[in-house]
Symmetry: C3
Subunit: 358 residues, 3 copies
């Protein structure tokens, strides 16, 4: 059994809010099979997706009011996971239940806590307000079941020099590679800041800035452990004070990533690209979405291919750990914070109090 690579006592995005309706949806998070549904009060429930009785996925059953009816023998479980009906018997075994996972909806996503429910704290949901659809606008998507360790996606996003090579035909730019950057961190966050001062803007930014001449370009990548990333990116007219905080002469976007381990070697990658300019231009929104993911032609599709190939190579070459370059400083801090969470969790590990027998 390899060591577990993801903390459990944390919130992970499990679905977009709009995906969870008055019907059963199956999702695997941290190797745990979960069935999700929206109750009549509008809240979301997340239960263990295996009937207490014979393990059939409850997601193969049906919703009855706010309860789930198993599709095999009709056992019924309420939103707390407790069995409320057993076929052909009046007495219900009081231990009959399935795990109920703490769940919360925020920033247009449904978050679940796969670990000890007693520790679930909604204030620990990652700050992902860029995704709210208010100040920032954009429509993203999800790579469900991306076949790589979730940390490879983090490595990818914490260092944007890869854009120069993976996305050489589109957003790549030699300036990224040559610009210096700085990494700072707190207990739970790491930030990579890169400023490219007085450069020629790449085509995308030049067009949206709408003014000729050199720019100051920024990429500020903000990681919240264990697996949420916000990349604040943009350009402003050179010398107008953007590095000092005045972005009034610029255009600003942000790439958002909530990466959820599915198994040790696969993950769900919730992404978005949002912006504060041309916010009402829905055609532009759709064009940006297609630029990122478009049947294998988008820039994130290129990352997708690289990430899955990298995982295969890791499986074939068990000579970990990786060798590192200066550019990996941000990714290394991210992994260090993840490792800390794993260590904390490991040292605190006590039997999970749960009504379900495990």
């Amino acid at each position: 059994m390899p060591e577990q690579t993801f903390p459990l006592n944390t919130w992970y995005a499990a679905a977009w809010s709009h995906e969870i309706k008055r019907e059963l949806s199956a999702r695997t998070v941290c190797d745990k099979d979960i069935v999700l549904y929206r109750r009549s009060d509008g809240e979301v429930t997340a239960l263990e997706d295996a009937c207490w009785h014979r393990l059939l996925p409850l997601s193969m059953g049906r919703l009855q009011g706010d309860q789930v009816v198993c599709g095999y023998h009709g056992l019924v479980f309420n939103a707390a996971g407790r069995c409320t009906f057993m076929p052909a018997q009046k007495t219900i075994n009081p231990s009959a239940c399935v795990r109920a996972y703490p769940v919360a909806e925020r920033h247009r996503l449904v978050w679940v806590w796969p670990g000890d429910p007693a520790l679930a704290d909604p204030t620990k949901i990652p700050d992902f307000h860029w995704n709210d659809g208010a100040d920032w606008v954009g429509e993203g998507g999800t790579f469900y079941g991306l076949k790589c360790d979730y940390r490879l996606v983090i490595d990818n996003l914490m260092d944007l020099t890869h854009e120069t090579y993976v996305h050489s035909g589109s957003i790549g730019d030699e300036a990224i590679t040559s610009a210096p950057f700085e990494v700072t961190h707190t207990d739970r966050t790491a930030t990579v800041t890169r400023w490219m001062i007085g450069i020629e803007p790449p085509p995308f930014w030049a067009k949206n800035l709408g003014r000729p001449g050199p720019v100051d370009r920024w990429q500020i990548i903000y990681f919240q452990a264990p697996s949420t990333i916000v990349g604040d990116v943009g350009v402003a007219v050179a010398g107008t004070g953007a590095p000092q905080g005045d972005r009034s002469q610029g255009v600003n976007g942000a790439f958002l990533a909530a990466i959820t381990p599915e198994t040790e070697k696969s993950c769900h990658y919730f992404w978005n690209f949002v912006r504060t300019f041309r916010k009402d231009d829905e055609e532009f929104t759709r064009a940006l979405q297609r630029a990122h993911v478009n049947d294998g032609q988008g820039v994130y599709d290129q990352d997708h291919a690289v990430l899955e190939a990298q995982q295969k190579a890791i499986d074939r070459n068990p000579r970990m750990p990786f060798y590192n370059l200066n550019i990996d400083a941000g990714a290394l801090w991210a992994r260090r914070l993840i490792d800390r969470m794993l260590d904390e969790e490991h040292s605190q590990r006590i039997p999970v109090p749960s009504a379900a027998a495990e």
Copy 2:
């Protein structure tokens, strides 16, 4: 190596009689690869499906009279598994042979005995006379390579409350779940008997009974260890004595199942649904067959989906044994009888006398 879950010293259905012709057919039974063919005298032979010499499946070769010619180097094996020809040499290694499995044809099925040939006893072939095509009429089929432990099929059939949920759109009926039942057993058999007295008949039975009014409905499920099940089902006009044995005012059918382990996690499920009414109506026969299996639309197709999903869930949730309900009493007896057979076999285990080196 997990513990073996199926007894070997017993008869298992390997094919329908009509499937075995004057040609080579491959079948895996209890993890043993077997080649089957019909000899010129009309009897069936079952040999180990791997050439003594270089292991090529003999089923890739050809029949020469009643002998099998290997498709690689032409070694010939007779119906006893003994090598009778080796290429380019006159002396034949006397130890050169493949295993010959005891085989018997009965009740329109070909049965093989994968264990010690010395113990093979034709009187132990399960009673499956319902399938003979005489008193009872019907045409079934086989789910070859159903991806689940054969015992999950037994669990499924020994408790028909699942019909209410899995087959809610067709044969399911709340009356099944609410009716009491009784389980009896012998050394090698278990029987679940359920009577629903004075109920409204479900549509299928109402139509075939052809008379209005309440009925007495029965489901008598007869298990013969390790894996044969006959379900005697029907309805009679209420109060005409069916529970006491007089079925003259009723209609009677039987579902038949011979379930053969292919591997630890897959099986061949030979099924039929036979009846004693409208016996000459061939269109009805075909309609009943289609009602059970029809490109994913039949009632057994629904079980198929549930059984394979259940096996996957078991593989992901190694928290066996199952929790049980009252409704599982029949299945539990079936498993208990299987376990007894396994224990007996284990305690008697001595090297299998076989000409083939193993």
Copy 3:
């Protein structure tokens, strides 16, 4: 970990020369992922196909002059495997490199040496001059990723009695099975010689000899350890001295095989069938190629099916070693020579000096 079945300190065919161009080609040899490309000086380079930094296959990158640029972060490796560029840093870690495999081009094939580079000796490249396209003419092909242990292909070719059974519809002939043969060997080679004196020629040879009457037919199979085979085959008018060395009254062909382990259970099978007659007849060349491999219809396609089925059977029947017949004498010598190479390699095993960390 099963014992390794292929020696590493030897030359294996990795590609046809015409397949390696000014672009990156991936190939797995002896479980080692390799990227091949032709340099501007026309020579071929073979590097480890996993970037030193993050393991992405270099074959997903691009060629820049004679160097390879990784497709993820742009690290550049020269043809010696040494890193010459790292993004965003001026100092290059001197240990940063990937393995460079010794490579040689000869006989229209590209050969690589997967073992200790210090031992690579071009004089040890197998004699495969029949493939040069000069004295002998023919066009072959490759079964890449044939799903069997490379030694099964050797077994297949070292004993041609299988032609009688596998290729009964085409080149098979009872005379092969009944004719005696002789096996000789040296330290690194084994030779099976079979003469069929005064027989009726099979259709292919009769037609190409162009003269009626009996022939002396030969099959002289020459094995060079670990996995190169040349089968000198032909017929001459009976009694004209062919067994004594005078083939002037005959027609002569040769089947060529260079078999390269890809993994323990798969291989690349480079084949050709060449001849010394009708050398200018290109239509005949194409017809012969199609006769061997033709969308599953050629004689080698028949072997392909047998070999993969045999591997599957071996995986299911771990009762090795095989039983042997007289006809296996040639194959047994081949395996003995392979085993000797493995023993030698094992006894000499010292840490491979390599700049890459392993």
